[in-house]
Symmetry: C2
Subunit: 571 residues, 2 copies
């Protein structure tokens, strides 16, 4: 493509209402244009990227045996009433009625429609397993659309739905999808992690989120530096320290600590290492009226999801008000500790191996030091209560944990029989008996991936596309092409050569200053750039630069195709 | 693909509410499934066809220099209010409001959105011409959706919009699009005609509809048997007969014709050839209160669009009531003729060369025979008034006209400044002066093409896909594959060979009777079929049959790939 034959409309200014870097860069590079809140037109350059993601997703889904179909965007209310979601779904479901006042919605997801198809089309276990997918426009009426296509109202999803006679078959397809998703992100050239996710209220034994790692992500992901292990920080297990608790060496001593309310206060005023202290939190027990004390190390944070899963503790988790704490412990927040409490105490694994530690004395303005488990207070219940931190051992025993922020771009999920039961989707099993179908569902946010890739790959000049996602793989920037016949001819020859070799090239044939051309190509993020100028040409050379490299290198005109094929991994 | 790994769900029964053959066959072949009135899921087989049409359209649009983008399905009311169409568009425009009660619609077309983009992105004539297109989901809330995807509410369109500094540039792109559309339908392998269409109220000097020819079409298309000429019957010129009017040979004679009301009555009761008579119609004149008599040959039909364009005639055309005719002519319908009338008479070209013709006598129950122009009545105004009929000379002077029914699947159109003026879309011209953009628009009904192709290509067994549109080009039907190792092996070998050669093959590996497999492959319409059975295999032969051929032929196993490549036009 020549810049003169397409629309390059880059912006110098940073758009006012763009909060994240991908949104700013997509607007500045002319990849998207805002039509209304949360509604974007994919401009030619942006659409090329979107289509590349689509193609890779499609190829991997096909390779994994999934079958493509295309369901309508507009869905009748009746199916949603049948599944119960017409009432459950909030205002994110955009509802409307047609000219005959029949109710419809714009599909944010297609479980109902596909389950309706399955119950009509499938009659026997012999047809199973089947995995249907589509790549399609979805709509979610977000209360506050933001971050451009990262959280738009209209967006492109790949959603797949698999149907099975039993859980074993569902598990099998689930892991095939896990592999297919990994292939997709590998091929896209993105740093990502499949992350174990909470299966939440829907149940099913497995759920993974696929996160693209980027500083601007909304989720904290803990992953091993040596293995595939990755989990949302909220779900990652903090393994028990592989040490014996030291024997007590200090007497328990009461310390007057006026004004000390926090672990940090204790450290600054008394010089006590937070890792050598514990904090105690009072939460409602599973039995109405009961209270439970949870103890974690002073430098650790309680993980509320883990706490909530304890059998002793009320779910959802409810923290005690200060007056409750005073009633139960004899002191308010800041002076509570495990010693002498009459309520059950659950101790985190890391806190349980401390000796000679500090804690609140359950007496206003007093703390204890030299406290020891067993000698001074029992640690009958030990559990994993805290959030993991960087440097913790990986729960799979391999390596230590790193924590990075992630952007969720995919989610695979075992739905089980939630929809098939509500909508009575059954087939006959091998014994001729009707069985409710088991379902899996597997989503990838196609348009979101484009934004996430930019969040991960950019610098202050603009986007740095991985080769597989770049709108064009190579930019040819001829200098002074309008005046120099030699430059024009070299540019045209190279353009024809590369195009013939199946490489996507953008030839910047605009009559603009070099600085403007360089800035535009960098902003747009084309990974490989060839500059053709009279001076180097006289020496039979061109200038090559990778978008992410600090410097350019000279290559012989005659070697250009070979060098580029090799840089692109094509030769 | 193997039938065991996809979903083949054909129906024996003809679905009750499917009125046209394409709808019936698409449902029976399992290409589409109805979700709600006018809303269809494209099932795996159908989607493969849809994608092939999409791909060919995309390739031809790209080759024609059009640039792909993707606009949202959901559009804000504001833009439609600006163009004036929010008020003009009827209930086909599905309107809705979001959670903040802002008004939106589902786009039936995208002139407003693209014009908004153009006015924001384009500033100079140097950027022009530009032609943007998208392939996208559209919604039109038809009052009575019918004929399956032929007239669905949700459908897939390719719509393109070009922008120009002047009419000359618009004309140029218009003809590029005309060529691109012809390429698309040529490549799809469909019989079609680009048909001159009425430019109607929007103006612009050209408009063409692209019609796929099929008996079930809604429009009558007249086209030359020797040239490219084609026009909607309503618009085709009936050229003046290339003959001299014969000299009168009979006296004008009054004939008592009680009960004769029509030309057919005159023929049956009096033996008068309709082609030797004229009929006279009274219509309102351009001046309030005036009446005009229009005369066409007895075997011809008045073309109302042509009549309406006469300067003497009121527009829209208004036929006289019988009491008006009696007042003006002295007789009612069935007895009117041109002789002795006091109102202006306009005579069709074919009627004007008659001699010794018959007509009403303007006297109840009487006709005249042996009437001659000039001698008995003047034919001062001669015009093209009638609809063309088969056998008429083509207006371009080449060949004669055939008339066939057509299904409109494409429309190219010069919009001129209708939207750019309403929405103030301007650029600076070479003199630095603001100029309102000229626009063209170019649509193709992608999903409709699939149905139209079936209307044109089917028999009583099912669909007959042109190679370019077939979901699979070749079907391999092994007989008794589950029991015969030789058959299974030959089938697998051929499947691998063809797949490696880039041919799309459906291997029917189901454990079904041959009759069921044959019927399914015929219904689905796969153009090339290979049957593999033990008997022919023993002789080193396979059976080949083209879907449209009456009989099969034997080919040597060793020649199969070569033969198929040649049948597919690939070698």
């Amino acid at each position: 493509m020549r810049t003169s034959q397409t629309l390059i409309s880059t912006l110098k200014e940073t758009p006012a209402d763009a909060e994240v870097i991908s949104h700013r860069l997509m607007l500045r590079a002319g990849m998207i244009k805002k039509l209304a809140s949360g509604l974007y037109t994919w401009m030619p350059l942006g659409l090329k990227v979107l289509r590349k993601v689509e193609r890779i997703v499609r190829e991997e889904m096909d390779a994994a045996g999934a079958i493509e179909l295309l369901m309508p965007v507009v869905q009748p209310a009746e199916l949603w009433q049948e599944s119960g979601r017409w009432a459950q779904y909030g205002p994110e479901l955009l509802r409307m009625h047609d000219r005959h006042t029949r109710e419809f919605c714009l599909g944010p997801t297609h479980e109902e429609v596909i389950t309706d198809i399955a119950r009509n089309e499938l009659s026997s276990y012999k047809q199973l397993p089947l995995n249907f997918y589509q790549i399609q426009t979805k709509f979610r009426d977000e209360i506050r659309p933001r971050f451009g296509v990262m959280r738009a109202r209209e967006f492109t999803m790949k959603d797949a739905y698999s149907f099975h006679i039993d859980q074993a078959s569902l598990e099998e397809t689930y892991w095939v999808m896990h592999r297919a998703y990994s292939n997709v992100f590998d091929r896209l050239g993105l740093m990502y992690r499949p992350v174990e996710a909470d299966t939440g209220s829907i149940g099913g034994s497995h759920s993974h989120e696929f996160h693209v790692l980027a500083d601007s992500g909304e989720d904290d992901i803990a992953f091993s530096n040596e293995s595939d292990f990755a989990a949302n920080v909220e779900l990652a297990e903090a393994v028990a320290p592989n040490i014996e608790r030291p024997a007590p060496s200090q007497p328990m001593t009461e310390l007057h600590t006026p004004g000390v309310k926090t672990i940090e206060d204790l450290a600054t005023t008394q010089g006590i290492d937070p890792a050598q202290s514990v904090k105690t939190l009072i939460v409602a027990g599973a039995q109405e009226g009961d209270w439970i004390a949870l103890v974690v190390r002073g430098d650790h944070r309680l993980n509320e999801i883990k706490a909530e899963k304890l059998p002793q503790v009320a779910s959802p988790l409810r923290m005690a008000e200060e007056q409750d704490a005073i009633k139960v412990c004899g002191a308010g927040f800041g002076s509570i500790g495990p010693v002498g409490l009459s309520i059950p105490v659950v101790v985190d694994r890391a806190a349980a191996v401390l000796a000679d530690f500090a804690c609140g004395a359950n007496k206003p303005n007093y703390h204890l030091t030299g406290v020891n488990w067993e000698r001074d207070v029992t640690a009958a219940h030990i559990a994993d209560l805290r959030e993991v931190v960087e440097g913790d051992p990986s729960p799979d025993g391999k390596g230590i944990l790193e924590i990075k922020r992630g952007i969720e771009v995919g989610h695979i999920f075992q739905l089980g029989q939630k929809y098939s039961e509500a909508m009575n989707a059954q087939v006959l099993d091998a014994n001729g008996k009707a069985q409710t179908l088991s379902m899996g569902c597997y989503g990838i946010g196609i348009s979101r991936i484009v934004a996430a890739a930019i969040e991960q790959n950019h610098d202050d000049k603009g986007i740095i596309w991985p080769d597989a996602m770049a709108p064009y793989q190579v930019a040819i920037v001829p200098l002074n092409m309008q005046k120099s016949e030699a430059v024009a001819q070299a540019a045209e020859t190279l353009y024809a050569q590369l195009t013939d070799a199946g490489i996507e090239v953008l030839l910047d044939d605009r009559n603009e200053r070099p600085g403007i051309k360089f800035a535009d190509m960098e902003l747009i993020g084309i990974p490989h750039r060839i500059v053709i100028g009279d001076r180097s040409l006289a020496e039979g050379q061109l200038e090559y630069k990778h978008r992410a490299a600090p410097d350019s290198e000279n290559i012989a005109v005659t070697d250009t195709l070979t060098v580029l094929m090799s840089k692109l991994g094509l030769a």
